[in-house]
């Protein structure tokens, strides 16, 4: 089962490596990891996408809570939440493909944010599955480069992760 874990942690040197080290040392899976400071600069918010059985997830949350730098942990996927990921994708855009690329970007509500004679950079935001679908929809021979931020997520409504 795929889970999205949100973590509030002290914005200290080495905090990231404590979390990353925990996952590798205990053979937990990381699909993606993003981290950045919050509105309170002493705190960082990290989002980890992982997968595992209920038992493994229980251990992951307990082990994360044990880290001294970790302030709070929630499994976002336990209840209503929103997830988003940003992708920048550079594609070949020449001849008939140029028009096709523009159309595809429009269909997926992407934006072209860099244009040269032969390439576009398309910015696309959404759930990971949407980004996957966009990549699937393109002719792979035309993809020059992709970069994805990894998932960040937030609980819906009154679900608030704060100190």
């Amino acid at each position: 089962m795929r889970h999205i874990i949100s973590i509030l942690l002290e914005n200290e040197a080495g905090a990231l490596s404590r979390v990353a080290g925990l996952f590798s040392a205990r053979a937990y899976n990381i699909e993606s990891l993003t981290v950045a400071p919050t509105e309170d600069p002493s705190l960082s918010r990290m989002t980890i996408v992982t997968s595992g059985s209920d038992d493994v997830l229980e251990q992951i949350t307990k082990q994360l809570n044990k880290l001294v730098d970790v302030v709070k942990v929630v499994d976002l996927s336990e209840a209503a939440h929103i997830e988003r990921e940003l992708m920048l994708i550079k594609v070949r855009a020449t001849g008939k493909d140029r028009e096709e690329m523009k159309r595809m970007a429009d269909i997926f509500r992407g934006r072209i944010i860099d244009v040269t004679e032969s390439t576009y950079v398309i910015e696309l935001t959404g759930a990971s599955s949407k980004l996957d679908a966009f990549i699937e929809a393109l002719d792979h021979g035309l993809i020059l480069e992709t970069v994805r931020t990894g998932v960040c997520g937030i609980g819906r409504g009154d679900r608030i992760l704060k100190v």
Binding site: S17, G21, A25, D55, Q59, Q63, N65, V68, V163
Partner: protein
């Protein structure tokens, strides 16, 4: 008043009432050693290898209620300390390790004796710090002691760059610690404790399973009182020995891979299990699938939520400090008592079944030949020391025999490396105990292989005139490796023979100690008595006992097997 960072460190140790620091100097900690030199409140114990410094600090803590402190230099000083830190981490021992680091300006430039100490130790400490500002030293050390001793205890490392220890700042030791991210739970959930009490009273085949957490939280007296009141059988893990008197009739002894037949059978077949400060590890319950085949209700008291339902699903988890939870549990049992609730009479039947298991007499052993049986050495040690010594051990067969045959009636008397299984701890452990309890009887049960892993400490023992008694079970084999090779690898004894051994008697004498050698069973008791006699009261005695080369540790549960699948000596 401004004082240097190094002076701040020493002042912090004084504030924490630290009496002994185990360490080894080097370039990055010269300022610290200079500050140590100029005071006499904190005594420094110079070891011969940093690993031994951490082991000694570790044992110092295990046998007392204090936080152990070690001091090492950067680079190799820190890497040598890692085995000691990992050993303490696996057994949840509160330590503060202070390491020197290259000057901040040199960090990351591959400076002489530079290593990423915080990075290397991260997976084997409870927490660690790199101090980047002299004004942070006091606060950081305060936090380090607080983290080490609260919650589930563990080692905490503070890495201090050389320039930081040279700079000056005002000193004020913080009185309290506030950490929003660290709030260990002390009190257990009352509803859960009520459920536990109910289960205990309804139990027909109850069992109490006690781990090292009871010793670490100084809950042995409370645990013993609870067990006596309930009248239930008690078993201990390797780390829990001494938490309930071995000589008590309710004690079934140690359980697990080399546990007693009765303890393992009772553990497997009980219907209500009270687990206290233990973690169901692989050496204790063997195969978790096999263990779960028998339905039983499990109550688990532990301060670390991640220890609960890690390998075995439990029914009533209680997160909290063991003595606090036991207090609440006793209160609830008192209420139940007043209401007339009694333990189920079926428990008497359960004791009859246990008596049958006990009748197997799984600890009996026969002599294999004319050589001294290793088990008899531990029995002799127990007899001569009246069962009241501090016993440290290394790792291997001798460790298991010491655990099985030295009957510990008190907590904090049995000092060994349970989780990490670190060969070489025995001698430095005995040193740590000797400093914590001057004048106490300290025996180090070891083997000819383990003792050589930190043999250099004979020199430290000489310097500080430590009256340790080493009991070397010398079978000229890596005994436990040999045993597994015999049982599971077709007797192909790959690299498990210890050839070219030193003459341990002469070696001891070379360091100014007393060396004794015993080769025949009839000489064992007199030699043991001599070693522990008043004549050698103040001497370090190395008792080299040549033991039977083929003796194996029984009972035994093979790796991956279940608790009721023991191999007994009589089966062979």
């Amino acid at each position: 008043m401004h004082i240097t960072g190094a002076e701040i460190v020493i002042r912090c140790l004084q504030e924490e009432k630290v009496e002994h620091v185990f360490g080894y100097p080097g370039g990055a900690v010269l300022h610290l050693y200079d500050a140590l030199f100029q005071q006499d409140q904190v005594k420094h114990i110079l070891v011969r290898h940093e690993q031994a410094a951490v082991h000694a600090a570790d044992a110092y803590s295990r046998c007392s209620q204090k936080v152990g402190v070690a001091l090492v230099t950067s680079g190799p000083g820190a890497t040598n300390a890692v085995t000691g830190i990992a050993t303490a981490y696996m057994d949840s021992i509160p330590l503060v390790i202070i390491s020197g680091q290259v000057p901040t300006a040199a960090i990351g430039l591959d400076a002489f004796q530079e290593v990423d100490t915080v990075g290397i130790t991260r997976p084997c400490v409870k927490h660690n710090f790199l101090v980047k500002d002299v004004r942070d030293i006091a606060d950081t050390i305060k936090k380090a002691f607080y983290l080490a001793r609260t919650g589930r205890p563990g080692p905490v490392l503070v890495d201090i760059p050389k320039d930081i220890s040279a700079q000056s700042a005002d000193f004020e030791y913080p009185k309290t610690v506030q950490m929003r991210s660290y709030n260990p739970i002390v009190k257990g959930h009352l509803g859960q404790i009520r459920k536990a009490a109910q289960l205990l009273l309804e139990a027909k085949r109850p069992m109490i399973y006690v781990g090292g957490g009871v010793i670490l939280s100084d809950a042995a007296t409370k645990l013993t009182a609870l067990a006596k009141r309930l009248g239930f059988p008690v078993t201990q893990t390797l780390m829990g020995l001494g938490s309930f008197p071995a000589s008590d009739a309710q004690n079934l002894g140690m359980l697990g891979m080399h546990g007693t037949y009765e303890a393992n059978m009772a553990m497997q077949h009980c219907d209500v299990l009270l687990a206290v400060g233990a973690r169901f590890d692989d050496r204790v319950i063997g195969n978790p699938g096999h263990f779960s085949q028998v339905p039983r209700k499990i109550v688990h008291i532990d301060i670390d939520p991640s220890s609960i339902s890690k390998r075995v699903k439990v029914d009533v988890p209680i997160v909290g400090n063991v003595p606090d939870v036991l207090d609440e549990l006793v209160k609830i049992l008192d209420e139940q008592d007043k209401a007339g609730a009694k333990a189920d009479p079926a428990v008497a039947e359960w004791w009859k079944t246990i008596a049958e298991w006990r009748a197997r007499d799984c600890m009996s052993y026969k002599a294999n030949g004319p050589a001294i049986m290793p088990q008899s050495v531990i029995q002799a040690l127990h007899q001569v020391t009246g069962g009241d010594a501090f016993v440290t051990s290394d790792v291997g067969q001798h460790q298991m025999w010491a655990a099985q045959y030295y009957k510990f009636d008190k907590p904090r008397r049995w000092i060994n490396s349970g989780g990490l299984g670190t060969m070489g701890v025995g001698l430095p452990y005995a040193m740590g105990v000797s400093f914590a309890h001057p004048g106490a009887t300290v025996a180090c049960v070891t083997g000819e292989a383990s003792i050589q892993m930190n043999i250099q400490e004979l020199s430290t023992c000489k310097q500080f005139r430590l009256p340790i008694k080493v009991v070397n079970l010398n079978n000229r084999y890596l005994g436990m490796v040999r045993q597994w090779q015999e049982m599971f690898h077709g007797s192909r004894y790959s690299e498990s023979y210890m050839d070219s051994l030193p003459d341990f008697v002469k070696l001891a004498e070379a360091y100014g100690h007393v060396g004794l050698r015993v080769e025949r069973p009839e000489d064992l008791m007199p030699a043991m008595e001599l070693a522990f006699s008043d004549k050698h009261k103040n001497d370090f005695v190395f008792l080299d006992v040549l033991t039977d080369q083929t003796a194996n540790v029984f009972p035994m549960i093979a790796a991956g097997k279940g608790l009721s699948e023991m191999i007994l000596a009589e089966d062979l």
